[in-house]
C-alpha cells in the first residue's frame, strides 16, 4: 500500500480528534480526542519512519505514548478533582472566568 495513504489516515484521525475537541463537552471525551490526535501523530511518525527507512519515527512513537500516559495521569487528576467539586465534567460548566 502506498505509504502516503497512511499519512492521509493520520491526517484524518488528527482532524477527527481536533473536531472532537471542538464539539464535545465532556472533559474526559475532549481529553480522549486529544489522545486521538497524539495517536494520529504516532501513525504519521511510524509511516514516515518506514518511508525513510530509519528508526527515529518509531522511537518517537514510543516517547509519545509515554508522554500521553503522563498526560493521562495529570489530566485525569485535574479533571477528577474538577468533577468532584462541581459534580460535572462538562468543560462548558467551567466558565467562571471570562471576559
Amino acid at each position: 500500500m502506498n505509504p502516503v495513504n497512511y499519512l492521509y489516515l493520520a491526517a484524518l484521525l488528527f482532524t477527527i480528534g481536533a473536531t472532537g475537541v471542538l464539539i464535545r463537552r465532556n472533559a474526559i471525551v475532549v481529553f480522549m480526542c486529544v489522545e486521538l490526535m497524539l495517536n494520529a501523530c504516532n501513525l504519521a511518525f511510524v509511516a514516515f519512519s518506514r518511508m525513510h527507512g530509519n528508526l527515529d519515527g518509531q522511537i518517537i512513537a514510543f516517547f509519545t505514548m509515554v508522554v500521553a500516559a503522563a498526560e493521562v495521569v495529570v489530566g485525569l487528576a485535574i479533571i477528577v478533582s474538577l468533577f468532584r467539586s462541581r459534580h460535572s465534567a462538562s468543560v462548558d460548566d467551567a466558565s467562571l472566568m471570562k471576559l
Partner: protein
C-alpha cells in the same frame, strides 16, 4: 535523557544497518555531564524532592523542600554561570548529549534567566505570612490538600491538621528542568519532551490554589486541555517535519531545508521535494510555540489561567514559560529554519501585529488586575515577536535582554498582587485597588514602578528592552512593525496609567483591602524585581553586552 543519544542521526543509522549482526557490546552514549550540569542538578533536586515528600515527616517538609529547591536552583545557576564563564557561551559552545542539547550562548543566558526567575518565584511560593494562621498553622498560597473537594469535611480536617501542599516545590523544579531543556533542545523530540516536562507540572500547580479553588481548578482544566491540544499540533508538526527531512535533528533538518545534504536517498529525495510537508509542519510547530508564549490567536488561555492560578504560580508561569518558549522559538527559527526566513517572516509579522494590538486593546477594559497583567503579557509577547522577526543576531540578543527584563518585572508585579488582600484572599478586582497609594504609598509606588516598566517608560528596564527590540526590528527591516508596536505601546500605556490613577488619585474606600506585611521571602522577590527594573533601566550596558555576546546559536 540518555535515550536522546540513541536518536542522533548517525547513531541510529548504524544501529539500523547493524541490527542483524551479533552484538558484542552496546556503544555507550557520550554524555557531557559537566555541560549539562544545570539541567541535571535541577532534575536531581526535583527527584530528591519527591523522595523528601515520601520520607520526611510532614512538619519538616516545608523547610526541607524550600531548602532543597533554593539550593538546587542556586547550584544550577552557579553551574550556568560557571559554564558561561568557561567560554561555553561563546567559543566553547557545542552540542552536547549526542546532538540532543545545545550548550551555547542563548541557551545559557536563557537558562540563567529561568533559574533566577525560578529562584525568586520559589520565594513567593514559600511565603506564609500573608494570610492569618489557620489553627495555629502558617499557610501559604496552596491548598491544604488539593485532592479534597472544596468546602468538604475532608478539606476542613486537612486544614485543621495543618497539611500543606509541599509538592509544589518538586513540581516547580520539574517544570524548571523542562524549561531549561526547552530552549536548549537541539532536536525536535527533545523539544517535545521538554515541553511536556515543564507543562505537566504547571497544569498541576495551577490547580492547587488555597483560595478560590473552583477557579483554580477551572484554570487548570482549561490550561491542561488547551495545552494538550496545542502540544498535539506541535507533535503533528514534528511528524511532518520528520517526514520531510527524515530526521528530527535541528542540524539535519536545516541542511535538508537548505538543500545542503549529500547523502540523499530516494525516499528523502521524494519528501524533500514536497514543500507542503515542510510548510505545514513548520506552521503546526509554530502553533505549539505561539500557544506557549501566548500570542494572538493562541492566547485565550492566558487570562483565565493567570487569573485562576495561585498568584505565585501565575508569576512563575508568566515569566519563566515565556522565557523558555521564546528561547525555543528563536532556536527553531534561527537554527532550523533560516532557510525559510522568507516564509515565516510575513506570517510572524501578522501574528506580531495582532498580538501587540489585540493584547493592548483588550486590556483596556479589564477589571481584574491579574487578567489585566495577562493581557499585558500578551501585548509583550507581541513586542518580543517583533525582535524575533528581526532575524539578525541583534534581534536574538535584544529578545534575550527583553526576556530577562520582562521576567523580573512580571514576577515582582505578581508578588505585589499577592500582598493586597481582603477577607476573601487576594483582592484582585481593580476597584479594590482604589486609593492604595494613600494607604500604603510604598507598595503602590513599587507597583507603579513595575507598571511603568511594563509601559516602557524610560529609566526602567521595560524601556531598555523595548528599545532594544524595536531597534533590532527596525534594523532588520521591520520599521512598520515598530510603528505598530509604538501604537500598541500607546494603547497599553492607557491601562497601566489607569491603574496608577486608581492607586494614587482615587480616594481609598473604607472597606477596602489591606496590604499584608510579607516575610523577607516576598520582600526579596519584590526587591529583586525593583532592583533589576531600575538597573536595567539606568545602566543596561553590562546586560546588553551579556545578551549581545550570547546572541549566537551553535549549529
Amino acid at each position: 535523557m540518555s535515550t536522546a543519544a540513541v536518536l542522533s542521526a548517525p547513531a541510529v543509522h548504524s544501529l539500523w544497518t547493524t541490527a542483524a549482526e551479533p552484538v558484542d557490546k552496546i556503544p555507550a552514549p557520550t554524555i557531557e555531564y559537566a555541560q549539562l550540569a544545570p539541567i541535571l542538578i535541577v532534575v536531581g533536586a526535583a527527584v530528591l524532592g519527591i523522595l523528601l515528600e515520601a520520607f520526611v515527616p510532614r512538619r519538616a517538609r516545608y523547610h526541607a523542600q524550600l531548602f532543597l529547591a533554593v539550593v538546587g536552583l542556586a547550584a544550577a545557576f552557579a553551574a550556568t554561570v560557571g559554564l558561561a564563564a568557561s567560554g561555553h557561551a561563546s567559543t566553547q559552545a557545542r552540542i552536547a548529549a549526542m546532538g540532543a542539547i545545545a550548550v551555547d550562548g542563548p541557551a545559557l543566558f536563557l537558562q540563567g534567566t529561568i533559574l533566577l526567575t525560578a529562584l525568586v518565584a520559589v520565594f513567593t511560593f514559600a511565603e506564609r505570612r500573608l494570610d492569618p494562621a489557620h489553627h495555629g498553622h502558617r499557610v501559604d498560597s496552596f491548598a491544604a490538600e488539593a485532592a479534597a473537594v472544596p468546602g468538604s469535611e475532608h478539606e476542613k480536617s486537612a486544614v485543621k491538621a495543618g497539611f500543606t501542599t509541599t509538592e509544589v516545590f518538586p513540581l516547580a523544579l520539574f517544570a524548571v528542568a523542562g524549561m531549561l531543556v526547552f530552549p536548549a533542545a537541539n532536536d525536535l523530540l527533545t523539544l517535545f519532551i521538554a515541553l511536556e516536562v515543564f507543562s505537566l507540572p504547571l497544569y498541576l500547580l495551577c490547580a492547587v490554589a488555597r483560595r478560590k479553588r473552583l477557579m483554580s481548578q477551572e484554570a487548570a482544566v482549561k490550561y491542561f486541555l488547551l495545552g494538550a491540544f496545542s502540544s498535539a499540533f506541535l507533535l503533528f508538526g514534528i511528524a511532518l517535519l520528520y517526514g520531510y527531512a527524515g530526521s528530527v535533528s535541528y542540524a539535519r533538518i536545516a541542511d535538508v531545508v537548505d538543500g545542503a545534504v549529500t547523502d540523499v536517498d530516494p525516499a528523502l529525495a521524494s519528501t524533500m521535494g514536497n514543500d507542503v510537508l515542510l510548510l505545514i509542519g513548520f506552521a503546526l510547530l509554530l502553533t505549539g510555540l505561539l500557544f506557549k508564549v501566548g500570542a494572538v490567536p493562541f492566547h485565550m488561555w492566558t487570562p483565565d489561567v493567570y487569573q485562576g492560578a495561585p498568584t505565585p504560580v501565575t508569576g512563575f508561569t508568566a515569566a519563566a514559560t515565556k522565557v523558555a518558549a521564546f528561547g525555543a522559538m528563536l532556536r527553531l527559527l534561527y537554527v532550523v529554519l533560516p532557510g525559510l526566513t522568507w516564509d515565516w517572516r510575513p506570517v510572524m509579522w501578522g501574528v506580531a501585529i495582532v498580538t501587540m494590538l489585540g493584547g493592548a486593546v483588550v486590556a483596556i477594559t479589564q477589571t481584574d488586575i491579574k487578567r489585566l497583567l495577562a493581557y499585558s503579557s500578551i501585548a509583550h509577547a507581541g513586542f518580543i515577536l517583533a525582535g524575533v522577526i528581526a532575524a539578525t543576531p541583534e534581534g536574538v540578543s535584544s529578545v534575550l535582554f527583553y526576556l530577562a527584563a520582562y521576567s523580573f518585572v512580571t514576577i515582582g508585579a505578581f508578588a505585589v498582587v499577592t500582598l493586597v488582600r481582603d477577607a476573601g484572599g487576594e483582592a484582585t478586582h481593580l476597584s479594590q485597588w482604589a486609593g492604595l497609594g494613600r494607604r500604603s504609598p510604598l507598595v503602590a509606588a513599587v507597583f507603579a514602578v513595575f507598571l511603568l516598566a511594563f509601559a516602557g517608560i524610560p529609566l526602567t528596564s521595560g524601556f531598555s528592552g523595548k528599545f532594544a527590540v524595536f531597534k533590532a526590528a527596525a534594523e532588520g527591516g521591520a520599521g512598520a512593525l515598530v510603528v505598530v508596536g509604538v501604537i500598541a505601546s500607546a494603547i497599553a500605556a492607557f491601562f497601566y496609567i489607569r491603574v496608577i490613577v486608581l492607586m494614587f488619585f482615587s480616594e481609598p474606600k473604607p472597606e477596602g483591602p489591606t496590604v499584608a506585611v510579607p516575610s523577607p521571602l516576598t520582600m526579596t522577590a519584590i526587591g529583586v524585581g525593583v532592583a533589576v527594573t531600575l538597573v536595567l533601566g539606568l545602566a543596561p550596558q553590562y546586560f546588553l553586552d551579556l545578551a549581545g555576546s550570547a546572541g549566537t546559536f551553535v549549529r
